[in-house]
């Protein structure tokens, strides 16, 4: 029966060759409990983000930013009209929460993509070129690594005033690449020594050709893994900034919601308002983290259990 399964697997691989490594990875991923939980949670959050346009479409009073219930001017608990209650000026908390999911994905994913892109290119350049370039780039990475991102953003926003959400994303990306680049550099250094890179040189391949065709495909899985961890840190940084009052005032993020709770003095009187954004921040970061751990298992055979290795 097992042999049968293997046969059909390789059959699929033969028909769609590029999917081969992906399917193989998926079959290992499936067996990880962490991975399944993480992925399920993420899908829920994604659905939440995708549905965030529905409440304002049903009734303008459900608009997360500008919609105010005409009958309510203060915070109220859950009701049929407002499933999670309303905030201090009568805005619907559930629709804010859904809009917050969209912002979290936007901030997390775009900051992660940018920082991983930067980290991967810089890491590959440093590892491949070596020598002076390597030293220069890695010292720069270390300098940035020891700067606390949050503090730098706080200083910048007190210098330049309120920061736009995209500015915050870019700053997070600019300060979060060094960790990625160190790992990618290490991987590049070891790949550079492998015979297939020497074979490419003997075949007359250019340096750019070697990086693109031989190094990049081999570091890409690792870069993807890092992306999931970077999403987590970007969401946390954005939430912290918003909570401290340095967020973009024109977006409704979960950190922003927490700040409203705190600023209006409802920290201990309105749990229906405080808990949802808090739980959402914890859960979304946890689920990205679990996803990353499961992907780690796929990429590093040493982390797999015995029966999965074969």
């Amino acid at each position: 029966m097992k042999a049968n399964k293997l046969d059909s697997d390789s059959d699929i691989q033969r028909r769609f060759r590029w999917t081969g490594p992906f399917l193989e990875g998926w079959s290992i991923f499936k067996q990880s409990l962490l991975g399944r939980i993480g992925l399920t949670l993420l899908i829920l959050f994604a659905v939440m983000a995708l549905c965030s346009f529905i409440p304002p479409w049903i009734d303008p009073m459900y608009n997360p930013m500008t919609g105010v219930d005409p009958d309510i001017s203060t915070t109220t608990g859950p009701s049929w009209r407002h499933w999670l209650g309303t905030d201090f000026m009568g805005r619907d908390i559930l629709s804010q929460l859904m809009a917050g999911a969209r912002v979290a994905f936007m901030v997390g994913v775009s900051a992660a993509v940018m920082s991983v892109f930067l980290g991967t290119s810089i890491g590959m350049a440093a590892g491949y070129m070596g020598g002076f370039v390597d030293t220069l780039l890695m010292r720069l990475a270390e300098m940035i690594m020891v700067m606390p991102t949050l503090l730098v953003v706080l200083i910048l926003s007190s210098v330049f005033g309120q920061l736009n959400i995209w500015t915050i994303v870019v700053i997070i990306a600019l300060f979060r690449w060094p960790g990625v680049s160190r790992i990618i550099r290490g991987q590049t250094l070891s790949l550079k020594q492998r015979s297939f890179v020497e074979a490419a040189k003997v075949a007359g391949a250019s340096h750019v050709g070697i990086i693109i065709r031989h190094i990049l495909p081999n570091v890409l899985p690792l870069a993807f893994l890092f992306m999931t961890f970077r999403v987590t840190s970007a969401i946390i940084i954005e939430a912290a900034l918003a909570f401290l009052g340095f967020g973009d005032p024109s977006t409704v993020s979960w950190g922003m919601m927490l700040q409203w709770v705190w600023k209006t003095g409802h920290m201990f009187t309105a749990p229906y308002w405080l808990l949802p954004p808090g739980i959402c921040i914890s859960l979304i970061t946890l689920s990205f983290y679990m996803l990353g751990r499961a992907m780690d298992e796929v990429l590093d055979p040493r982390l797999r259990k015995e029966d999965q290795a074969g």
């Binding site: 015979s195 297939f196 074979a199 050709g209 065709r213």
Partner: protein
């Protein structure tokens, strides 16, 4: 093509590759400021030549600089001294750009069949890489890849598979196919069989021999196994600590080995008849550190005949005739 006619017009004793006084010193960094505190003389003045259609065997223990020689010839490493002459022209100082047309003349087969193929490329893509760089159009490349795979005994339909689907021996064949793709005249085999099972070693050796006859290739065959080298090679160079200790035709080396190191290597080759008493001339001492080698003969402290003079004088080759060269004055003086 011009390259083909040039090959045909060459006589039997044409020199394909000549290496003169090749040197490579690696700096050793020490301390806080990473100052250069010494040099590892990995290759320290090596001379040999490879004739058209012949095989040169390069034997020696691990760390003696065999693979460094291979990388110096292919300009994967920059030599610190000496010259590499390919078909009469010095290629030691060529820039990377000037080197490019010569790349198709010299290829290499690596030791490690698992590291020598990119795991994220199909074997077909690996084989055709050189052809792609030379600008051959895609349909022709596919056709040629098929041919090459068949030539090394793998079905051409396997071109779209990934390296992990093949065994070590098959991967080594794929490595040979990749080396052959650009129709080189010289292939450097850097311990191509030492990572393989004994039963598969023979297959690869036979394959290499057949290909040499079919295509008129020259080989530099690097190995630590004197038995294999003797079987494949026309001439053999025995290396020790970056020097060539003995250089002779394969037959001569086996019938009349002179250097104590060669004798020790030969006596270490297992004998086919069990029970037969063989005197194993195992060596005393250790290999000195290449970082700080002693003055005088590099082999002192290990040979059976050491005298004061071995510790003092740098030894030169002694030539007993017939192209045989030995770096040991004791042997020379009887």
């Amino acid at each position: 093509m011009s390259a083909g006619s040039a090959k045909a017009s060459l006589g039997n004793d044409q020199v394909t590759l000549k290496v003169e006084g090749l040197k490579k010193y690696f700096p050793v960094h020490r301390g806080f400021l990473q100052r250069v505190s010494g040099w590892v003389k990995a290759v320290d003045g090596v001379d040999f030549e490879v004739l058209q259609g012949k095989t040169l065997g390069l034997v020696g223990e691990s760390g003696c600089g065999k693979s460094t020689v291979a990388r110096l010839i292919l300009r994967l490493l920059e030599p610190d001294g000496g010259r590499v002459i390919y078909r009469g022209s010095d290629i030691t100082r060529l820039s990377e750009k000037e080197m490019k047309p010569l790349r198709k003349e010299m290829q290499i087969v690596f030791q490690d069949p698992f590291g020598s193929l990119n795991p994220r490329m199909t074997v077909g893509q690996s084989i055709e890489e050189g052809l792609r760089i030379l600008g051959m159009p895609r349909p022709q490349r596919k056709e040629r890849t098929r041919e090459l795979l068949e030539m090394v005994g793998i079905s051409g339909s396997n071109a779209d598979r990934y390296p992990h689907e093949f065994s070590g021996g098959q991967r080594q064949r794929i490595g040979v196919a990749r080396a052959l793709s650009v129709e080189p005249s010289l292939i450097i085999c850097d311990e191509p069989i030492s990572a393989l099972d004994v039963s598969i070693q023979a297959q690869i050796i036979n394959l290499l021999e057949d290909l040499r006859e079919q295509l008129g290739l020259s080989y530099i065959f690097i190995s630590h196994d004197l038995n294999v080298v003797s079987y494949l090679s026309d001439r053999v160079a025995v290396m020790y600590l970056g020097h060539i200790m003995e250089y002779a035709s394969a037959d001569e080396l086996f019938e009349n080995p002179l250097h104590p190191y060669t004798l020790a290597l030969l006596s270490a080759v297992p004998v086919a008849k069990p029970g037969q008493d063989v005197e194993i001339k195992s060596l005393g001492g250790d290999v000195p550190s290449p970082l700080d080698p002693p003055p005088g003969c590099k082999f002192q402290g290990r040979g059976p005949l050491v005298e004061e003079r071995c510790r003092l004088e740098e030894v030169d080759f002694w030539e007993p005739g017939g192209g045989h060269q030995v770096r040991c004055w004791k042997v020379g003086e009887g």
